[in-house]
Symmetry: C2
Amino acid sequence: MNTAKDKLNSYLEKEGMRRSQQREQILDEFLASKRHLTAEELYDLVKEKYPEIGQATVYRALKLFCEANICRTLNLQEGPARYEAIIGHEHHDHLICLDCGRFEEVVSPRIEELQQKLAEAKGYKLKEHRLVLYGLCSECRS
Amino acid sequence: MNTAKDKLNSYLEKEGMRRSQQREQILDEFLASKRHLTAEELYDLVKEKYPEIGQATVYRALKLFCEANICRTLNLQEGPARYEAIIGHEHHDHLICLDCGRFEEVVSPRIEELQQKLAEAKGYKLKEHRLVLYGLCSECRS
DNA sequence: CTCTATGCAAAACCTTTGCATAGAA
DNA sequence: TTCTATGCAAAGGTTTTGCATAGAG
């Protein structure tokens, strides 16, 4: 049912690590927010419900979630790293408004295909990619 | 002749800022290195020739160069920001080996074109983009 | 002369780590 | 019982900032 929690637990098992309440609580808050949170923002959310959880635990949990393929970090331009859930969230890239910060999730199978070819042409086996488009949204253009 | 220096000076003028020896010296070293330097690496280079230049000045200069469109920051993997000259260096994206860190500069007009369309379809006017492909290079694959 | 740019050191910002202890297996 | 995960605070790595002074216009 909760795929992310399953994924977490099977990753923990595979790695010989232990379960913990904190990690599940942090994961719940992360998934519930449905946003691209920074570690700090997630810590603030988590603190409201579970005030005893420490900041380091949130950082450690996010790192773990990334390793377990539950989330990934976004390489946007400024500020702290942001994390995005992978589960229940198809792969996509980002289109960000330079003016207001609004963003869209976009995807182009054709672009992905060309990326494959580009990598192959250089003798690389493509594993992943990060694409961020920066522009002006319809509102900020006027 | 030295387009980058011209660009710097016209930017300074436009912004009502003053010229300085340090900025030109830092720019010279930056361009001469022809690498994707971090601020620290550039500072080390600069120090050899001009020991009296301070680290903060290098950071301030790099920020300025970005604003003046002389260089741009790369958000490659981890660690500190890296800077890349724009002038005398056509636009390109990066293909990085996850294993050894080796990288290639790549470009695909077709992808750029599709990016335009993707942005337009969402009502955005595309201004720039960052594309980084991660994979395994021919050596690390074997 | 005026006011920006610099150098220095300190601060700020984000993230990781050491250590003693709580808690899972 | 054993050994990982946690919480705290301190340290780490990178970048920015305050302030007095040098230096450009």
